[in-house]
Symmetry: C2
């Protein structure tokens, strides 16, 4: 029986386990400000890695980074009716621009500094960026415009969970305008595929890309696509979305251009976003009962060296040996970047440090003691193979030179291993032979991990779709998306009995 590093296991209480990883891996903590978290160095460091890798891909797609205001005048929201309906609800509203003493030692908003028009803290930036597009775009020659923004976003959530749902979160939002609808749709799909590739390649997180049903579209969108990842409790996490907005926002914000024939036309716009929610997804995809396991590509440190210091004069030589190792590793590359290696010289017991890095999920932890040094070795712990079959810690002594020469390949193997493990779980977790609503209800009737069901439907809309949603509610499941990559739909729609036109994924979700 292995004694794991966390006090709670996934099997015992998945939600409590998640909170334990967030806390024990120094990812984030409550800030004391309602619904807002503090992202601590390890959590924020993973976000910085995500930023760097995603940003390079976004640039390769031809987008330029910009920065638009945090505040959006209320009137901007009133322009696009569906957008108002969907967003103009739970938002932070700035109404005053000054504080004055309240006469009792405290402060109050100054009644004489009330804003004429309230400002909304951006819940997304279509409206304010659309106003920019309207200024920038006059002629077909100005198109396409493709910009990206890294920003903080506020949505006043009532029930919050670290990374997964917080009042303030960080994200990237791509916005683009094109002359034609077909091109805009194509580019929406390119963004979606960028997300799929990023999630799978960098985060080792297999996903299913597909179209969201009508009732889960972004407010104001013509169509919304998502990537959905399966967490270890079988629930879905929507990890990125890409929206084809048609001419809705262009119409509301006057984004129009003169085409080559001199006629005026509305531009077609798209938007797409991925957020710090992805970090919650990493935890629930790769975490185990000893903490997080960070895929090497997004790990702030890929290799951490822990010297077994004993507060003796010999420590100096040991530190030199470790610095040498650090230097050699830093000079090595992995995944086409310099290898990220940390030498942990903090004042703490080596075992405490080891388990700290295990809980954080550093891909490789190297321990170096006097005996290792004497024989020219290092002791290597791979985070994805933490225990031997006998339940003992799986630490292997390897000659230093051999480890350095093979470090990049080992990191690549860990990245591949984490992906393969998650992919196998995803594949196992989707049931495809449910042919009736009764069978669906039976499948999702319990409380445990029922994974996802891929079923055929007739793509109902409007009231018929609303009724379907109501039928799914007691099962606590929802339509995730209609996978792009799917077998032909056959037979009858599970909900309407009419001939099926496509297959959709149904499951519980975060």
């Amino acid at each position: 029986m292995i004694k794991h590093a966390l006090a709670v296991t996934r099997a015992a209480d998945f939600a409590a386990w998640y909170q334990a990883v967030v806390a024990e891996a120094d990812m984030a903590e409550d800030s004391g400000v309602r619904g807002c978290m503090v992202m601590r160095p390890w959590g924020y460091g993973i976000w910085e890695r995500i930023q760097r890798l995603l940003d390079a891909r976004i640039r390769d797609l031809g987008y330029d980074n910009c920065y638009f205001p945090l505040f959006i005048p209320l009137s901007y929201f009133e322009k696009e009716a569906q957008h108002v309906e969907g967003f103009a609800k739970e938002m932070a509203v700035v109404t005053h621009h000054r504080l004055i003493p309240d006469g009792k030692g405290g402060l109050i908003p100054d009644p004489s500094a009330k804003l004429e028009e309230p400002l909304i803290v951006r819940p997304t930036s279509e409206t304010v960026i659309g106003a920019g597009f309207s200024r920038w775009i006059q002629s077909w020659r100005d198109l396409p415009v493709q910009i990206n923004q890294w920003a903080n976003i506020v949505r006043w959530e009532m029930r919050t969970r670290m990374f997964l749902r917080t009042a303030e979160f960080l994200w990237q939002e791509g916005h683009a305008a094109y002359a034609g609808a077909d091109q805009a749709r194509d580019e929406t799909m390119k963004a979606l595929d960028l997300y799929r590739d990023f999630a799978e390649t960098c985060c080792a997180m297999p996903v299913i890309a597909g179209e969201k049903p009508e009732h889960e579209r972004f407010p104001g969108a013509v169509a919304t696509w998502s990537i959905e990842a399966m967490m270890q409790d079988g629930k879905a996490l929507q990890a990125g979305t890409s929206h084809f907005l048609g001419t809705h926002f262009a119409d509301a914000q006057n984004i129009r251009f003169q085409n080559a024939e001199g006629q005026f036309a509305l531009a077609n716009t798209i938007s797409w976003g991925m957020s710090t929610r992805m970090i919650g997804g990493l935890i629930m995809t790769h975490g185990d009962d000893d903490g997080l396991r960070v895929p090497p590509r997004v790990a702030p440190w890929q290799v951490v060296i822990v010297p077994m210091l004993r507060d003796v004069p010999e420590d100096a030589a040991l530190i030199d040996y470790c610095r040498d190792l650090q230097r050699h590793l830093a000079a090595a590359g992995a995944f086409g970047e310099p290898l990220r290696v940390q030498l942990d010289l903090k004042a703490a017991r080596p075992a405490t440090k080891r388990w700290g890095w295990v809980k954080k999920g550093a891909p490789i932890v190297i321990e170096v003691g006097a005996r290792d040094m004497a024989s020219g070795n290092v002791s290597v712990i791979r985070r994805d193979r933490l225990y031997r079959e006998d339940g003992k810690l799986n630490s292997t002594a390897i000659p230093l030179g051999e480890f350095v020469a093979g470090a990049a390949a080992m990191l690549e193997a860990i990245q591949a291993e984490l992906f393969a493990e998650a992919k196998a779980r995803l594949d196992r977790g989707i049931i495809r032979d449910i042919a009736s609503f009764a069978a669906l209800a039976a499948h999702f009737g319990g409380e445990g991990d029922a994974g996802w069901a891929e079923v055929a439907w007739a793509r109902p809309t409007g009231a018929e779709l609303d009724a379907l949603v109501e039928r799914l509610k007691p099962l606590k499941v929802s339509v995730r998306n209609a996978p792009l990559d799917q077998a032909p739909a056959e037979g009858a729609c599970l909900f309407t009995g009419r001939p099926a036109v496509e297959r959709i994924l149904i499951g519980r979700a975060y």
Copy 2:
């Protein structure tokens, strides 16, 4: 007589020239949201370069990046009296968390969704980060704590100017806690020196580092230091500040630790920040009548290649030739990083593109025409040597291989040249022989560029200092700082007649 690229010159109207550079170089524009700007790709690209270079230095200093909430509860501000006094004035106040229809087709803040405690959009984060320090720090073993945050900041400025003073701006804020005051002071100075080195090395902006006078301290600080740069109109720009906060914030927020002897003590904290204001400083330091000149280290593109396309079949070969050049340059390094090279294939006239890049201030613009290709050459324009003595554009044909081999050295030369030019201006611009207040008044009596005066003073405080400030006001000048690197103060204080103890810089400022 040279016809410059901008419609207004520095000499004719410096303020209008500044706005022209911001607009013509695609740096930023009005957003339509009061006091907030849109940072466009070239302006934001420079900020990203600043971030990358500054971030690496901050990490080298031993700081970890974190992210704290955008919102700060009002009560946090009420804890530190001076901080309230200094900051709790012009700030954006969030009072509601929901909008509802107003019944007339518009939206209003929902009266039933009024926050019990208003939230302030952070004007700086000492209070909310201090609350974090209070949770993190229990024992001397937890010290030092050194964290940095990249964030957006809001201060409700009444009169705004792009980059220099905007309601929302972007910055980096370093925050640290130490056991002792001496160590905290030392670290405050290390941060200051980091800023000096960064400004000079990366931004080619010579600065004078020194201590701010008592009345210009950060609210709640024991001492504040700044780096001050001289703009081309002789005014000072405070380009970065570093604050020793003593135990003021620790006392207000209960940041205390048990020392090795088991006694409880308050930590000493420091904070330091540099913002997008730096970009305004770059413009006013290096801009000329043709636009911006970006120092190569912070230029988003260091070399831009403009093929002289003529819409003929031969264009294809020309583009191949340019792609080859781009590939060779990208493989070359400059300043220890890959060289950043852009091939401009946009649909516009080559001359329009050339002048576009001149206005943006790309350090080197390469034009390649059919004749260049035929002779294996490229035509090179150095942005810092734009015109020949006869006033003609200074474009030089160089063999392609020779240009590639020398590109890094040319970029280094441009970086050095821009610094030397600014340094000479700073040195010329400081007058040191003013010995009476009358002489000072005479020197700053006019409206033109009077540079700065370094004068001796007795370091008055309190009411005496207030009186001094009042005397300076009609001259429209202020005390910038007391340079760290200064000759011994001799003679009498210019203001009090008492023996001088140090020398201070006086000048107009942004």
